[in-house]
């Protein structure tokens, strides 16, 4: 029987919603309950707890970790735009079909092959130790600088591939539509192809940037005191691994909202440009 003012569908959807909330709640409680009850039963639990989840060490080191993390964010913030611009440049070079620009295509292809094929950590070590080894003077021997350059080199090759896939995914008919209006191939790329390509690749692109956010920590290997190195220092000082857990928590505090935010943006964009959604 339907309540007054409520359609049959609304009543149905309310019942469904109550049901799914109930199921989700019960299953979550059971799973968490099992973990909390069983893990402390393991023989090594008390040792792990002492060396990884020491509340006192966490509260002692957390503030310092947080301030070291600012360095990670800074590095991320200046690397990200460079990566976007350089990655897009490479992708456009690879999409150009003019014979005169063939060397550019060749370069872009070789570049992406090389830097995609080398582990990021190796690029950082090679660039970070290699270039300052040329005997450059301040500020040109800064590990921040060359660590960032290494990240840009590596990540722009991933981002270039993502952009290129996006550019190629735009249907040929879009190009025909634009060219038939008299737009040049450059204008077609700029106003018609790239805007659509970029929209399509935002999710994979964001995955790359969340990875970048994490890989910034690899720079610690060549010197800068950012969060991972700070955690290492605190680990030695307290003879306790809890600072690493603290660092992990700090990363999650940033990366989880980041991904959620992107999901939100994507949903909004879809809703704005498309008609009715299919259930």
């Amino acid at each position: 029987m339907s309540q007054p003012g409520v359609t049959r569908r609304q009543a149905f959807e309310r019942r469904q919603k109550r049901r799914s909330v109930l199921i989700a709640f019960t299953s979550t409680v059971i799973v968490i309950g099992l973990v909390v009850a069983l893990v402390p039963q393991t023989p090594g639990w008390y040792k792990v707890k002492r060396s990884f989840f020491d509340g006192a060490v966490l509260s002692d080191t957390f503030a310092k970790l947080l301030s070291a993390f600012v360095k990670d964010i800074q590095i991320f913030l200046w690397c990200a735009p460079c990566i976007l611009i350089w990655g897009m440049t490479l992708a456009v070079c690879r999409s150009v079909r003019t014979p005169a620009l063939f060397p550019l295509r060749l370069f872009a292809a070789a570049y992406t092959d090389i830097f995609r094929g080398i582990p990021v950590i190796l690029t950082i070590l090679l660039v970070g130790f290699g270039v300052p080894g040329l005997g450059l003077h301040r500020p040109w021997n800064s590990p921040y600088l060359w660590g960032s350059v290494a990240l840009v080199l590596a990540y722009s090759s991933y981002v270039a591939e993502v952009f290129r896939a996006g550019i190629e995914s735009v249907h040929e008919s879009q190009r025909a539509g634009a060219r038939s209006l008299g737009l040049s191939s450059g204008q077609t790329l700029r106003y018609v192809i790239i805007p659509q390509a970029v929209r399509r690749v935002i999710p994979p692109l964001m995955n790359d940037f969340v990875s970048l956010q994490k890989d910034v920590a690899l720079i610690s290997l060549i010197g800068p005191i950012e969060i991972l190195r700070q955690a290492g220092i605190d680990k030695s000082k307290y003879a306790n691994f809890t600072p690493y857990v603290g660092a992990a928590i700090i990363f999650l505090l940033l990366t989880i909202p980041e991904t959620r935010f992107v999901d939100h943006l994507m949903t909004r964009e879809r809703r704005r440009t498309s008609g009715t959604a299919v259930r």
């Binding site: 008919s173 879009q174 025909a176 539509g177 634009a178 060219r179 038939s180 209006l181 008299g182 737009l183 040049s184 204008q187 106003y191 018609v192 805007p195 659509q196 929209r199 704005r272 440009t273 498309s274 008609g275």
Partner: protein
């Protein structure tokens, strides 16, 4: 060759690999003339229109616009494309732009019009095609008929001298065909030179000055519709019209 022709096709040939799609097409189209190309699927109608718009480069022969060879290998096609509008079966609208932006893009970027100028002209066209309330919507939010009218408006915004219409009603629900054909009728009454590929025989009969039958990349016959439909000369044409009649499309 005929000096007054708006468009002159001379022995136009086009192959894709070993597949000969256009096998020497010769046809003169006068100013304000409307030509309907009909023929079975795969006979080369789309390819021919794409060649006229220089979206495909022809292999041999020549395409003349006002007596100028626009098909010369190596020539920059952009200045000629501006003068020749093309509308596609599947609209090819830009999904990331609003209706207004779709229409105003080329006038701004190609003709160098200011944003205001281009938008004013776009609004005028949108009004003329009965889409005023849709100016700020996105293509995916429109019906097929509305989308195709936007595509026509987008071409018209460049003030083309010739329009190429490639089966512009084929992707539409039957009840939406009329609104698009009305626009084509209006173009004809304004003296637009048009080349159209169509499966709408009734419309071809009504709108065109000449109907041309394409078969295996050749124009088998070309005559005014009254003559074409009542006394087709070529056996192939008769067979085609018979098939169309049997399918209830005539």
């Amino acid at each position: 060759m005929n000096i007054e022709s708006k468009i002159s096709l001379q022995e136009v040939r086009k192959s894709f690999g070993s597949r000969h799609v256009l096998n020497g097409i010769t046809l003169d189209i006068n100013q304000s003339e409307v030509i309907a190309f009909i023929g079975s699927s795969g006979s080369g109608k789309s390819t021919l229109l794409r060649c006229v718009n220089l979206l495909e480069a022809i292999d041999d022969g020549a395409i003349l616009l006002d007596g100028i060879d626009i098909s010369e290998p190596g020539i920059n096609p952009d200045p000629f494309r501006r003068r020749i509008g093309m509308v596609f079966q599947n609209f090819n609208l830009f999904p990331h732009m609003t209706v207004l932006e779709n229409i105003a893009l080329a006038p701004r970027k190609v003709l160098g019009q200011s944003k205001n100028e281009a938008n004013d002209h776009a609004r005028e066209l949108i009004g003329r095609l009965g889409l005023s309330d849709r100016a700020d919507g996105y293509p995916d939010q429109l019906s097929g008929g509305q989308q195709q009218r936007v595509a026509i408006a987008r071409s018209l915004a460049m003030n083309p001298e010739v329009m190429l219409l490639d089966e512009i009603t084929s992707a539409l629900d039957p009840e939406l065909v009329g609104e698009v054909l009305d626009v084509v009728r209006e173009l004809k009454s304004n003296g637009m030179t048009m080349l159209l590929a169509t499966h709408e025989m009734g419309f071809a009969r009504e709108i065109s000055d000449r109907v041309c039958f394409l078969h295996q990349g050749q124009v088998l016959e070309c005559s005014p519709p009254a003559e074409f439909f009542s006394r087709p000369q070529h056996e192939r044409t008769q067979q085609f019209l018979q098939r169309v009649t049997d399918a209830g499309r005539l």
